[in-house]
Symmetry: C2
Subunit: 337 residues, 2 copies
């Protein structure tokens, strides 16, 4: 038993046509929902992260103070806690796990928030990376419900370059024969390690490595950083889960659904929530330019890059205290608007 709850979605019909029977949404809450049910915040997870990986931004005396707010952290499909290749019963298990979209994730979370908790308004939705993508999707699908959003280091639509970066990650993982098209009995460790090495150059910026921040983090050498941080990071994961979430990411587009009909700019315009859109200044796969475009098309958005050389990791998971402070301050400001 984990430190989280399960919301039973029943037979959950996915956007691509499959039905996930007995679909599960794993989540954890922090703080108490008040009587008027107007202190709720949704904070979705990121690629391969689980709810506890979001806790660095929650705490007493932080903007996300559980004494004040009711913070719901829903786990993304495919992350190993919510329905995923690794925990789904046959016949939709493992390599046969169906494609899940951003829309599927957010509509499932909406059911949790409304059906389980009876919440009608959200003070804030926020998230890092793919969590930011879910944040944008919340704002576009439920504008009357979402008062504020703060997506950081993530875009409303996965850019073509981001897609290509992910193709490289995927190709490295699946080049390992042990992957066996997803029907492995043991994890394809060589592929997971290769994927980790590919990811290493993308996750942090050129300047991060130039300034040797990996050594300042406490790793004994660059190779130690590649093994202990990066390979360690992905070796804990299930290959099919990683590939399932990767598909979700590659196809991330807040307008690719029956509500927004593929009109991206219209989807952005529909996000009436007060917003601070916050890229990492040196993020290599969610670069600021994409967010800048998006913020311009949102009626109530401020564009505020994180002035950091930590690349994508400016946004999490709490690795650099200065970036945490910058994000926390923005959340505080936004909540006070």
């Amino acid at each position: 038993m984990g430190d989280y709850e399960i919301f039973e979605l029943g037979g959950f019909v996915l956007q691509q046509g499959a039905t996930l029977r007995g679909a599960k949404l794993a989540y954890k809450t922090y703080g108490e929902l008040n009587r008027s049910k107007d202190n709720a915040i949704v904070y979705p997870t990121w690629y391969s992260g689980q709810h506890y990986d979001n806790e660095w931004l929650i705490g007493e005396n932080m903007a996300l103070d559980p004494r004040k707010y009711f913070i719901i952290v829903p786990n993304m499909f495919g992350n190993g806690l919510s329905s995923s290749p690794s925990n789904t019963e046959p016949p939709y298990d493992r390599a046969r796990f169906p494609h899940v979209t951003l829309y599927d994730n957010v509509t499932a979370q909406h059911r949790l928030v409304t059906e389980k908790f009876g919440i009608k308004k959200l003070k804030l939705v926020l998230g890092w990376s793919m969590g930011a993508q879910q944040t944008f999707q919340w704002g576009a699908l439920y504008p009357e419900m979402v008062e504020r959003i703060l997506p950081f280091c993530g875009s409303a639509r996965t850019s073509r370059h981001n897609f290509v970066f992910l193709e490289g990650v995927k190709a490295a993982l699946t080049a390992d024969d042990a992957w066996q098209n997803g029907w492995y009995e043991k994890q394809p460790y060589k592929g997971l390690r290769a994927m980790a090495r590919v990811y290493a150059g993308w996750g942090f910026s050129q300047a991060f490595y130039r300034e040797k921040l990996d050594l300042k983090m406490g790793y004994s050498s660059l190779e130690d950083f590649l093994v202990a941080f990066w390979e360690g990071f992905f070796l804990r994961r299930d290959a099919n889960n990683l590939l399932a979430m990767l598909w979700t990411w590659q196809h991330g587009d807040i307008s690719a659904n029956p509500v927004c009909h593929g009109d991206f700019e219209k989807a952005l315009r529909s996000i009436t929530a007060k917003a601070i859109v916050m890229p990492g200044q040196t993020d290599l796969y969610f670069p600021p330019e994409d967010n800048e475009y998006e913020a311009k098309h949102m009626p109530n958005a401020e564009f505020r890059p994180i002035p950091s050389i930590w690349g994508h990791f400016a946004g999490g998971p709490g690795t650099n205290p200065e970036d945490v402070k910058f994000i926390d301050k923005a959340i505080r400001e936004l909540l006070s608007r």
Copy 2:
């Protein structure tokens, strides 16, 4: 028989200790060496490129005009024409091919230029990418001989981030069991394709993909670009050759040799040649910042980024006409100084 010549190096002792017996330096020349032997230019090749891949920058009415200059294009060790894993006789063949450094490449080229042609002065050394690294190395090792250098999209020392990028490329290639630690009978095609996909995100910039320049190049879709351009690019290569050159690249440092004794800034200061150091403004693995630092430490260097969204491919191989014009103009200016 190819369209190139072979310079026999004999038993060539490499920096790391191995002797390449019967070492060969393949090269091609363009134009005629004049009587005073003062019209020679050296233009080394880049990662996986061969001499003809440099020809886009050579031509009548271009700065590198073969009617005026004697242009020598030496092939880098490991590129399949000069001594390489794929063409070396046992016992130093294939996976046993020894590590070759930047210094080894340039000292071998120096022997060609001096012993074969009796050249005492070079008007110019220039090159793209790893060719730029060889260019810097020429300037640092033979300052009395090299009058001008124009390294484009390459640094005098491989940065730590660049090293990590290459770790990802290598990991993808070698994740394929068919690689067999280099003792394959057939090329590890899956690994070569994976490597290509990893490379795709790095070779061009985020803006390149955002502006869909791949489609403007004539590819029918992003996937077509990944297969036809990128996979096609690497499928023509030998895996051990690629890994040999990758090692050279990862260890690229113009000061890592018995002349410069590991003092990088001193090596830069020793480059007295008139120089234009020319990064691609959006190059993701040879970013302008590294060149800026280097140019500052060189006594006669101008730092002039190529204002292009073509990423690393701003520097070659002649893909974008505007970038070609920009580089050609700089060569012309430098030659007139």
